[in-house]
Structures are given as C-alpha cells and as structure tokens.
C-alpha cells in the first residue's frame, strides 16, 4: 500500500477545502474541462482533488465479484486520505467504427443514468468505452442491460484486449481493405471469443486494424497490426491531375519536393506526372496533396506488423514488418495465424512478457520460422531486424534535475505563463 507522503496529509476538512480550490482552478480556461463534466455526475470528485493536493494517486486496488473474468475493475480511496470514496468501472465493447446512432446511444445513456453515475469515457486507450457504476452489486445488472443493447463487458487482464479498427471504407477514401468487416468477422471467431472472455496469455494481446499507411488505428504499435497498403506506385489520373494543376489546386513542384523518396517527377512539356514504383515508400504525401487525382494503387494488400507495444519487458517497440496478406483475407486465416503466434509466445515467454519481448530474445528470424508465418504471408521481406535505441527513463541525480528545472523557470518567465 502506498504510504502518505513524508510532507504529511492535511486533516480531512482542510484537504477537502484545498481540493476544491484545485478543482475550481481546473474549470477555468478555454479547453473543455473534465472537472466541469465530472461535476454533473456522481463521480467522487473530492477524492480526485485530494489526490492532486497530496501529489499521490488517491486510489488503492479493490475488486468486484462477477461472472466476468475480464473487464470489471474497482478502486477504493487510500485510507490515509481520510476521505471515503469508491470507484468501480466496466470496460464496454465499442461499436464498429465507433458510430453511435442517437436512438441506440440514448438507450445506453439512459441505462448509465439509471444504474451508473452518469459518466462515460467515450473511448479509452484499449478502444473500449468505460462506464462508472455506483455499487459493486450493480455490475451484473448493468452488464445484463448492456447485453440487451447488443454489447458487453470485457477487455482487460492478460487476454485479447479490444480489437481496434480505423473507420475504414465507412467514411474514408484511402482504405486499402475493409477494416470494419474484418473487425466484425474476427469477433465472430470462437477462438477470439474464448481469449477475450478468459485471460489465457502471459500478458495482453492487442490486434489493430488500419486501412492505410496513415495508420489511424495505430497498427504500428499493436501486437498484431494489419496495415492496408498497395503494390507499386500510387494510381495517377493524369487527366484530372492536369485539370487540378491548371486550376492551381495542386503544385506539381510541391509534389516533387514533398516526395520523401524522390520517386516523383513532373514532365512540364507533356504535363505528366511519373512515379517510380521501385522508389515509392507509400508515405501518402502525394495522395494527401492531390487526392483524388492520385490514389492508392490498384493492387491492394495488407502489411502485417508483429510485436509493437508500450508496456513490454524490453520497453517501447514498434512492430516488425514480416510480410503481406491478401486484402480479402478471411478472418479464419488471420486467427489461424494468431494461434501460431500465441503458441510460440506461450512456449518461450515468461509471465508479463509481450510478443515483442519473445521476439527480442529469440530473434525475429527464428520467431517467424517457429510460428511458420511463411504459410500465411506472401512476399516476406529478407530483412526484418531493427537498430536499438537508448533508455528514455532513468533515475536522475538532483543536480541533473536542477538543470532542467532552471530551464523551465527561464522559459516560464520568457513566455509569461
């Protein structure tokens, strides 16, 4: 249990008063304030404020008893604060593309107002919604209500966390494959269901589906990222491009300059744009500037990125690119591949190690070989290795800290903040 800070905790009345001052301060200013929103709900704000005053998190772990193995969480205020408080929340699966039709959403909000404190975190970092409830006994009641509405509680612990997908073809021109359809199909696979329902891995597993190299669903840092891309150069509609150039909407020289790999050249005589398909790295810059005259190429495919994470044993990593899947790949085939990956992870991993950690000590080549990924992937690259980075966090000696504190002071004076 975290102890109270050495500098002491004010008595409850004083603490409450100070907390209120801090909270009021956070309601000022043009940016939308979380405190203003929380005030309209039954959230125990005095505990949060007290946390700010003492400089330590006011919450201690607690638990809820339900039939659910994942997705329910509870906290209790640290006893030394002297302020009672409880916080129980459920992780609720989000809708495909996170579209919320108002008729459905109103039903959800009504349920939240009835059984919960009237607060919704519209999206958490796992991709789920988070609902705070008032009493531990209501966990099952709220869950039943949610099941009636067509969603459910889950997505925590050492299981598959919520699958994340970008909006894809539903509201985007760039999607190179149908992210939402694959997202739905993956959920319907019984093996995925089992591993979301019950924690069964060393640590969490996060699949992320992005439709194009802009990577809105952050596939680069998912344990398994499926990133839409294409083969060769982007498709250029020369007629439309000429028109756009004539209208002054597109500057061909800017396209040339913007191309990071120097693949683009503009022929001013024939008024034609050429893209060297060997040099194109799919950075999307020309597509962003001249869409729809330049579009993702015709021959689509899905790049598979393996082993990105934030919270692993060896720290932050982005995924290794290991090969492609065809754009119309079936969910069954993707889950078959996942199973192979889980097998190797299970065999070599230690508790609380992500897939990337196993990759680091096995080596990516050996991991790919043991997981037999060549049975699933096409056009696998010859080179997967990456270069190491330095450690971003460490213990700092006080004099080192002083240097940066003084820098902040100087900047503060300079900008008058």
């Amino acid at each position: 249990m975290a102890y109270p800070p050495k500098r002491g905790v004010p008595p409850p009345d004083k603490l409450k008063e100070l907390a209120e001052q801090y909270l009021k301060e956070l309601e000022k200013g043009p940016w939308p304030s979380h405190v203003t929103e929380l005030r309209k709900t039954g959230y125990p704000l005095h505990v949060y404020g007290a946390g700010l005053v003492v400089g330590k998190s006011p919450w201690a772990p607690s638990a809820v008893r339900t039939r659910y193995l994942t997705g329910t969480m509870a906290r209790i205020a640290r006893p030394w604060l002297g302020l009672p408080g409880e916080e129980i929340h459920l992780r609720v699966f989000h809708t495909p593309g996170r579209f919320l039709k108002t008729d459905w959403f109103r039903k959800l909000l009504d349920a939240i107002r009835e059984y919960a404190i009237g607060l919704l975190e519209v999206v958490g970092q796992t991709g789920n919604m988070i609902i705070n409830i008032t009493k531990k006994e209501y966990a099952e009641v709220v869950a039943d209500k949610l099941r009636e509405l067509g969603t459910d509680v889950g997505g925590s612990a050492d299981a598959i966390r919520a699958l994340a997908a970008c909006v894809g073809p539903a509201l985007c021109e760039f999607a190179c494959y149908d992210t939402l359809k694959l997202w739905c199909d993956l959920h319907l696979d019984p093996r995925v269901h089992e591993n979301i329902r019950a924690p069964n891995f060393h640590y969490k597993f996060k699949p992320k589906l992005s439709g194009c190299p802009f990577d809105c669903a952050r596939a680069n840092r998912g344990d398994l990222g499926l990133l839409g891309t294409w083969k060769g150069a982007p498709e250029v509609d020369q007629e439309l491009l000429r028109e756009k150039v004539k209208r002054g909407e597109v500057d061909p020289r800017e396209l040339e300059r913007g191309c990071v790999s120097g693949a683009i050249s503009w022929d001013p005589v024939r008024q034609e744009l050429r893209i060297n398909e060997k040099r194109c790295v799919k950075c999307m810059e020309c597509i962003r500037l001249a869409h729809p005259a330049i579009k993702p190429g015709r021959e689509k495919r899905i790049a598979v990125l393996l082993g990105g994470n934030n919270k692993g044993y060896y720290g932050v990593k982005l995924g290794w690119f290991v090969g492609y899947l065809p754009p119309d790949v079936s969910a069954k085939r993707v889950v078959d591949m996942m199973e192979k990956i889980w097998e190797v992870w299970d065999k070599y991993g230690m508790p609380k190690q992500r897939i990337a950690d196993v990759i680091i000590y096995l080596g990516i080549q050996r991991f790919v070989k043991e997981a037999e990924l060549d049975k699933f992937l096409i056009e696998m690259p010859a080179f997967y290795e990456k270069m190491p980075d330095d450690v971003p966090y460490r213990i700092l000696p006080p004099e080192e800290r002083q240097v940066y504190a003084e820098y902040a002071k100087k900047v503060k004076q300079e900008l008058g903040i």
Partner: protein, 387 residues
C-alpha cells in the same frame, strides 16, 4: 495455445459484431460504404466527403475533454444536436474526439455554433493540433505517479489557438500526456509525448510485500529466477533477500531504470511526490508520412510537477511548439524538422542546456544483454523500402 473449454457458469459474451456491421452504421454511411471518392476541407474542423453516388457528408470534429470523460447530460445534448442538425449519429475517434455527421455545410456550421455554445471547441485536421490524449491517471489509476488529466487540461488551455486554427501550424501536431512510463495515453510514438516519471528508485513497503511474493516456505524451495516479482524486472534490479526466517525483496538502485513494471504488478512499491516529475519525449509518429513511423526521443528527462496548472511543463511545451512553428517548412512534423536540422540545432533553438545522454547511464545488464528501448527510425526507412 487455445483457451480452456468454458466451464459451467462461464459467460458467452455479446459482441456488437453479432448484430452485424449494417446494424450499427447510419443510413447514409451504409449506402455509401466503400464508395467515398473525394474529400474537401471547409476551414478547420469541418471535412466534406463526396461519394460516387453524389451524396455528401460533412463531419465536424469536436475536441474531447481530457481523458474523454463526458457526463451523460452533455452527451444527451450532443444527441439532440445530432438529431436536429445532423443525421442522427455521432462518431468517436481513436484520439477521443467526438465527430458530428451531417449532410450540408449550413447545418455543419450550425452544429459548430451549437457545440461552441456548450463550451466545446471545433477544430483539428490538416495543419493544426488534432487533440490531446490523456491517460486516466488520478481519476481511476493506482499506478500513475502524476495526474495526466489536469496537465492535459492546462496544456489545452495554452494550445487552444493551434487547435481551432487561429494560429496555423506547419503540419499535424498531437500531444499525449501519460501519468507514468506505462504511457497509457498512446505511448511515446507521437510528436510530443509527456510522461510522468518517478525520478527516484521505488521505495519498498515491507508490510505489503508478502502479498506479492510466495510464502517463506515456498521461497526457500524455488529458485530465485522463478519468483514472479524477480521475473518482471527487465534489468535484474530486484533480488530475493533472506533476513533470518523472513524473505524480502531487495532493490539494486544502480540498475533501476524506473520502468514501473514492479509497480504494475505489486502495490508495495511506493514513491515520494517530491521526486516525481514530467519527462518530455518528442519527434515520434505512427503514420508513414515524412520519414516514417518511429518512437520519439527523450528531450527533457525531468520537469517539476506543480498541480493544478503545471506552469513549468506548459511553458516548455509551448516553447517546443513555437520553435517548431517558426522553423519548420510546410508539411514538416516535429520529427522531420529535427531530422533536417539535427538534434543539436533543435536543442540550441530551444535554449536547452543539454540532451540527456542516456546510454551513459544505461544499466550494465541492459547494455550487455539487450538494448532496452527501441526507436526504429533506421529500421523504418528500410522497412518502408520493403513495403
């Protein structure tokens, strides 16, 4: 590895996918699914999508509150606006902004007006601040050491003109604020990622420790390497120590890199608020634009944490944004600017005394066995060549 068969009383989960994709999509989206062919921007925060069928859809981006916390009251008001002026649907983005969808520019402007009346901001897309993500920190988390939510609010107040487009930026900017090195706000692969750092090695509270380690009899029999708390430490800084009949954990401070994996798994690890600060990591990105996806680099390892307004951190963040705004070419994100002008020049522009030379402090274990953190910018250039 497949999950064990569901036992009695095991629950069958109901996924939204069970109702089918069609059920969840608003009509206009369903009709034009996969048929979008063009997009146009109308000022900042309003985007128009044109379909092959000729239908048009306008999306209005509204900034979420820090940590995306909304009261049901506010969301019901959003529903009213969406019913009155929109197509009766909202959309939540990965980055915790709320999008309204409608079918004409007039209605879009009307929605903008209504939402601004409720105290929210419309902005984002193109060369602006796209939003600020914050982890839950002191709102629910027992691991976080600083409150990311209030810092996100304080930074948002300062960076508001960049969100609404009053002051245009060279390219996209996104800010992540996390309360501890777990970086739950989205990690470190972003333009500016602010992380709560412990600043000192954890203090072990002996009275709680027995909850996290096996009982003494078992500990006497099993090898140290099989003890869970020893396994979770990536640098081998935690050791089992025998004191008479009792067993305890010993922390080798020189090895500790403050990665908080021990705190993730055991509540006996504690800290003092005076030691805690904020680290600022810059230059990361996840999209493939410019020089490609990569994890950011530590720019400042520690800044004082003074709630509720955190003036020091806010000032430094604003300075970074201003230096970038004044020196970058159009379309250059922070990472691209640093690539072009070098880290040395970038720190000079910031007036920063030095960059943390972390490799010098890297624990021996991590240095000889494996590099601890990975950036991957070298890599990604090569990987992208392959894609």
């Amino acid at each position: 590895m497949s999950a064990p068969p569901a036992g009695r009383g095991a629950i069958e989960l109901v996924f939204p996918a069970h109702k089918g994709l069609e059920y969840w999509l608003p009509d206009v989206i369903r009709r034009n699914y996969g048929k979008w062919k063009e997009r146009r921007f109308h000022g900042y925060g309003i985007i128009e999508h044109i379909s092959e069928t000729g239908e048009r859809v306008f999306t209005i981006k509204v900034s979420g509150t820090p940590n995306a916390r909304f009261s049901a009251d506010t969301l019901l008001k959003f529903c009213d606006i969406a019913d009155k002026y929109g197509i009766g649907a909202l959309r939540i983005t990965t980055a915790a902004n709320v999008e309204f969808i409608t079918d004409s520019l007039d209605k879009a402007l009307k929605i903008k007006e209504e939402v601004e009346k409720l105290g929210f901001l419309v902005g984002g897309w193109r060369n602006t601040l796209w939003g600020i993500n914050a982890c839950t920190a002191f709102l629910t988390c027992q691991i976080g050491v600083t409150d990311a939510v209030s810092l996100a609010k304080a930074i948002g107040d300062q960076l508001k003109p960049y969100f609404t487009g009053e002051i245009p930026l060279p390219a996209k900017l996104r800010v992540f604020v996390s309360g501890c090195p777990n970086a739950c706000a989205g990690g470190t692969a972003m333009d500016i990622s602010i992380i709560g750092v412990w600043g000192a090695a954890p203090i072990i509270r002996e009275d709680i420790l027995p909850v996290c380690i096996p009982p003494p009899k078992a500990l006497a029999r099993i090898p140290e390497s099989k003890v869970f708390m020893v396994q979770v430490c990536p640098v081998g800084a935690l050791r089992v120590k025998r004191v008479g009949e009792k067993f305890t954990l010993e922390l080798i401070e020189a090895r500790c890199i403050n990665c908080v994996r021990c705190k993730d798994n055991c509540d006996a690890f504690d800290y003092e608020p005076e030691e805690v600060g904020w680290g600022i990591i810059v230059g990361g990105r996840l999209s493939n634009t410019g020089s490609g996806p990569r994890v950011g680099r530590m720019l400042i390892p520690w800044l004082p944490s003074n709630p509720p307004r955190y003036p020091e951190v806010v000032a430094v963040v604003k300075k970074i944004v201003e230096v970038w705004r004044q020196n970058a070419r159009p379309g250059e994100r922070i990472g691209d600017l640093i690539d072009r002008i070098s880290w040395a020049r970038f720190t000079e522009l910031l007036g920063l005394p030095r960059l943390p030379a972390d490799y010098m402090y890297m624990p021996e274990h991590a240095r000889t066995f494996m590099a601890y953190r990975w950036r991957g910018e070298w890599v990604w250039r090569r990987v992208r060549d392959a894609i």
